[in-house]
């Protein structure tokens, strides 16, 4: 069987077991493996933000209107008087305003005091073109709410897109047209514009970290100085001896390293001087399409102690003038042996830009409510409480095997495997068994309350003539209503089916049929949780794990989403819909091996440890596949700091914080 076919069959098992399990959950509240529901994906939105804010308290302004007769704050204000027709003004080239292309309006907020509430004075907003010719003018009266008392006023001006030309200038000034007395203080000017508020659907951040150890020359220009020599790492380094002035360069288009404007570049290089007082400079520069240098920055070893015949590091960080840079511009990092002394350099590190902003829209939480301790949670809105899953000891030494005997291949649980859970073997413990279906074998395991570990109670090679082969899909449930879990085996091609039951030693067929007498409800598509707010709670890509996690009668739904992060939440079904009880996190794991940190995690739920409380078997592994997508891994890797493992967790006492 080829790999593709195998994958298809395993996938079918997962999907089928998911659907069937969900069906059983809805019908009988029996645990299922996993399934998904459909909801709409969030979209990015445009929001209005202040592109620039200016504040003038007039305490140190040299404007002719400034007076110390009155002040709302400090000692000075701006005074309009019969002798002064024009008051304090603000003037800007459009291009001086960050993201001016998004500018939509300007707001002036200020304090004013006057002898008459109708001041007749105006605040004027004017736009001039690059020749100085006025192309737009608007004036709004300055109003004082109270006579002889400072009061606040706000004036708003809209800007039409056709005026958003970088060479245009805008002016804001007070016009005392009827020459009355008005004092103005504490002027705030906000330049508003539209900006994109990213939601969780934003694009994945790209790699902005680059490291060149000079063992290969990929990505480097001017590589003639790279040779086998004394090296900080490996064998190769950049040899700048014999009057050589320039080392290799890294040249990238801005757009190739970031979709966003790069505000900063961070660099480091190791330097090995062969003489005293080296002057080695690490540089960054930006050139535009006209080959003009719009930025140059360098950091030298000159003013620091760089001992001879010893590796020392230069770190540098440069702020780039984003207003002058376009995505097509070239950003060059270079090593410059300015002193032309003999020096070797190695291990160039470049970090373009700063850490990506967190995803999502800004928090709408009221900081004052938290500060004043009357914060009230909103249903299904973060932040959520944390519900802790405590690791349970199963004596497997945190290996990937569910049993202590690591020789059993079937017991080596992998996220690639398929699983069925149910009380297949009616014993006195009344615990669920877990059936692990691999491509070449299948085994069943049950927790021994006496031995405090899982035991293998049945195992079989999964030969092609077995029912456990990949032609079939499987689901668990009490299909014949005998109080014991069965497995429904369904031929994916012809819909022939059989219900099989475990008799303590082997699986035997209890009933069978073909597509004509297949109970459609057994394989009906899982119905999306239908209560009103389900779309607020569930996503199409969620995996759902119903169970009795607190050991109480009413079940909860554990939902896992790994689209972006390992996002595990516990949901409660109520009369009017679903309520997220909290984020679910893990406790008690060894070192810092929190299951949520692994690249590939599969959860199987069941009443494994107690007949009235649901536990989770968590398989956690890292994947060495180059383009791992999170559904199947061809090559697992066990990292020293994050070893692959299979563990069991359950909630203890419903602890939250």
């Amino acid at each position: 069987m080829n790999d593709q076919k195998k994958r298809f069959i395993v996938f079918s098992i997962i999907v089928f077991s998911g659907f069937t399990g969900a069906f059983l959950f809805l019908k009988k509240n029996v645990p299922i493996a996993e399934t998904t529901v459909a909801t709409e994906q969030p979209q990015d939105t445009l929001v209005t933000v202040s592109l620039l804010t200016e504040y003038f308290d007039f305490e140190s302004s040299g404007n002719a209107s400034i007076t110390s007769e009155k002040a709302f704050s400090g000692k000075k204000s701006s005074k309009l008087s019969p002798n002064l027709e024009y008051g304090f003004g603000v003037n800007h080239l459009l291009s001086d305003i960050p993201s001016y292309k998004n500018l939509t309006s300007i707001s002036l907020a200020f304090q004013c005091i006057t002898e008459n509430m109708d001041t007749s004075a105006l605040y004027v907003f004017a736009i001039n073109d690059k020749t100085g010719k006025n192309i737009y003018w608007n004036g709004v009266p300055i109003l004082s709410k109270k006579k002889d008392t400072w009061s606040n006023d706000t004036i708003h001006f809209e800007i039409k897109p056709e005026f958003l030309i970088p060479e245009n200038s805008l002016t804001l000034y007070a016009w005392n047209r009827n020459k009355k007395i008005v004092f103005i203080d504490d002027l705030t000017v906000n330049y508003y514009g539209m900006a994109e508020a990213k939601t969780t659907s934003q694009k994945e951040a790209t790699n902005t970290n680059f490291f060149f150890d000079f063992e290969t020359t990929t990505g480097l220009n001017g590589i003639e100085t790279i040779k086998e020599t004394t090296a900080h790492s490996g064998k190769f380094a950049c040899d700048l001896t014999g009057n050589k002035e320039y080392g290799p360069s890294v040249i990238k288009k801005i757009k190739d390293v970031s979709a966003e404007p790069i505000k900063k570049i961070k660099l480091s290089i190791w330097v090995y001087p062969l003489t005293d007082h080296p002057n080695t400079v690490i540089t960054a520069s930006v050139t535009n399409s006209k080959n003009e240098t719009v930025f140059w920055g360098g950091k030298s070893s000159e003013n620091n102690h760089f001992p001879k015949n010893q590796w020392s590091k230069i770190n540098a960080a440069f702020i780039l003038p984003i207003e002058k840079i376009t995505p097509e511009d070239l950003l060059t990092v270079n090593i410059w042996n300015k002193g032309k002394s003999d020096v070797i350099v190695d291990d160039l590190e470049i970090v373009y830009g700063e850490s990506a902003e967190r995803r999502g829209a800004p928090s709408t939480l009221d900081a004052n409510a938290i500060y004043e301790k009357h914060f009230i949670t909103e249903r299904n809105k973060p932040p959520f409480k944390t519900i802790w899953l405590q690791k349970q000891e199963i004596k497997n030494e945190n290996s990937t095997s569910i049993v202590s005997d690591k020789k059993s291949e079937t017991a080596d649980f992998s996220p690639n495997d398929s699983f069925l859970t149910g009380n297949f073997d009616k014993d006195k413990s009344n615990l669920d068994e877990v059936l692990c279906i691999k491509s070449n074998r299948v085994g069943m395991f049950r927790y021994s309350q006496e031995k405090k570990e899982f035991l293998n109670i049945w195992e079989s090679l999964n030969r092609t003539d077995s029912i456990w082969n990949e032609i079939n899909s499987f689901s668990s449930g009490d299909f014949n209503n005998d109080g014991k879990s069965d497995v429904l085996v369904l031929n994916k091609k012809n819909q022939a089916w059989s219900v099989i039951e475990f008799d303590g030693k082997k699986w035997s067929v209890k009933s069978k049929g073909d597509k004509n007498n297949l109970n459609k409800s057994w394989v009906s598509k899982f119905e999306t949780p239908s209560l009103g707010n389900s779309k607020d709670v569930f996503k199409s890509s969620d995996f759902l794990f119903p169970g009795n996690y607190f050991g109480e009668r009413s079940p909860e739904i554990l939902k896992l989403n790994t689209d972006w992060r390992f996002d595990l939440k516990l949901v409660e079904q109520e009369k009017d819909g679903y309520t997220i009880l909290g984020n679910v996190d893990f406790k008690g794991y060894p070192n810092d091996n929190n299951p949520k940190y692994y690249e590939f995690v599969k959860i199987v739920c069941g009443k494994f440890l107690s007949s009235n409380k649901t536990s989770l078997i968590v398989m956690m592994r890292n994947c060495a596949d180059n383009n791992f997508k999170g559904t199947r891994c061809n090559l697992f890797e066990s990292l020293p700091e994050l070893p692959n493992s299979t563990q069991v967790y359950s909630i203890e006492g419903g602890s939250t914080n």
Binding site: S60, N209, K266, R565, K629, N657
Partner: protein, 649 residues
Amino acid sequence: MIKKETHRLWACILNRAYVLVIILPFFFSCNNNAITSEKLSCSDFSIQNFNPLSNWQKDSMESKTIFIDYNNANSGFIIPTSKQIQEGSFAFQFEIKNNTSSTQNFYYKIYYQNESYKFDEIDALTKRENPLAEENFYGSWENTATTFKKICVPSDNSFHKTNDIFRIIGNPRNDERYIQNGVNNRWQRNPRVGNYSFLLIVVSENNLKTIPTYIQNINQKNNGHFSNPYYYYLNGDGKLLQNMIAYKSASLLKVTAQPNLGGGIYVDDARFNGEEDKSYFCATCGQDSNLYKNAPIQQFINYVDISTKMDNIPVVADILKDNYSKMDYNWNKSFYSKDELIPTIIQTSKRPCETVVSDPKEKKIIIKNPKTQYGEWKKESVGIITRHGLTYGKYRVKVKLTELLNKNNVWNGLTNAIWLITQGGGEWNYRRTCNKEGYMATYWGGHDDKRIPLVDYSEIDFEILKTPPYCPDNVFPPVFKNPIDNNKNVASWNVALPQEITNTDANVTVACTNWDMACWEPKNFGIGCNPIEYKGQTFEAHRWDEAYRALTEKKEETDDELFGSKFYYFEIDWKPTEIIWRIGASPDKMRVVGYMNDKVTSIPNNQMLLIITQEYHNTKWWPGAPYSQDNLPFPLNDIPGEIYDLTIE
């Protein structure tokens, strides 16, 4: 003969009496307290056996010690108090012999000066009076109008004993600067700690007339400045007087401040805007009159800068006990969305006495950053501050403040700080004039803050936290990789810290800072990293730019040593021309971790208070810090610190 002489003397005293002067002719030649001292002579008289502290520690002649009495000291320290010496004053005595052939009136005056924290009276360059010596803490009798006191000494070729009293108090010059609304606020210029010398001046009637008024009366100024009497008599014009003896006692008095930390914590309404919840008040913490009068410490409430507003991760955890790892930190940094973050600012206690405790039995203070929970989400700074200001001193604290790093060397977000801050007050507490461009007007303002010649702001800090040194600047700033929030690739989000950080992973940085308000007057005022030598060690002092108000030196030390042991000592040695920061396991094993002098920074000369805090900082204040405050959890448990001793000497 004796009887006749006695009669003449009494007549002299009664006729021209100056009270408090008692001449005991019975002991003219006696030496019954075994003082052995130099005899000094001029043509008209001789002086011997000057004992400036005859009623204090009589068995110890050369070196005497007194601890400042903090009881009822709100009006200023008095040395000694009546609790320490029944009379409430030091007694001094000397013996005088008239060398002339007739009975003479001689005149005497006692001066004292703090020798530990003074400017040399002689300017090293000009060899004339050091203008800064007027700042020295010197005094005489409290009533500065009492210039010299007269004694009438017979010509009998015998020594006659003179007894008198004095005490050391604040504002000994009765300087108008410290007098407001007619009240002499002596606490605004408290006596300094350290060693005091005593100078007895005896002068003939003729020579007295030539001593300037501003020397006789230390309240008076000469050309707008006080003139240091020690300089005048020992090095200046006074030295030339033929019949004047300046007798500087060999014995010194060491004044030490050691407030009783079990003596209670006072709560100042002003720090809480008068809206405090008083439910935690108790006998040793609160506002009752006993605490108001006697508690040496009060609860400190940090100034909350709006820049401390953060969007914090919604995690409540005990970083120190839960073994919070770098991987935990990295995951939380990458995998919380903005809408899950908690907008918060660093908080301070709203319930005084809840997080500070004075333990009278153990004579210690316990502070704690309180735990928090879901829905409350607070990072609350905690601290205490002394109530009595001092200028200069070697401040040594014995503390067990919280560990800052856990076993994984992840920082808990706290900064342990031991620092001096201006006592405020405005004009009376102004620093010395900055003669080059002036000081930045405020400590919080930006680069465009105006410059003014005088400010009252001063601050000298120990701040200990997880942040890298700025110097040498070839490895600053650290190059942190940008994480990518791809949960299918651990390496993309779990990025390693750069080598320059991990090399000293178990270390915290001891940042030693002097807030000189960017006064450019020091000869070697500089920006960037500049080395400064002290006793074979080189320290790198760093200032961001010419408008930056503080100069900082950083030294990395292991967190385990400073905060993992039972206690540790931290010392700020604030002198008129230098500041030395020391740390150590015991007072005799202190090592220097920071040094600055007046060539590189303006050393404050105003009155300051000591603060000890465990505070949360916005890490934007600390460029290069490997952990950002908003990405560190809220505290799940109380974070205690203990203060066992404060000694200022």
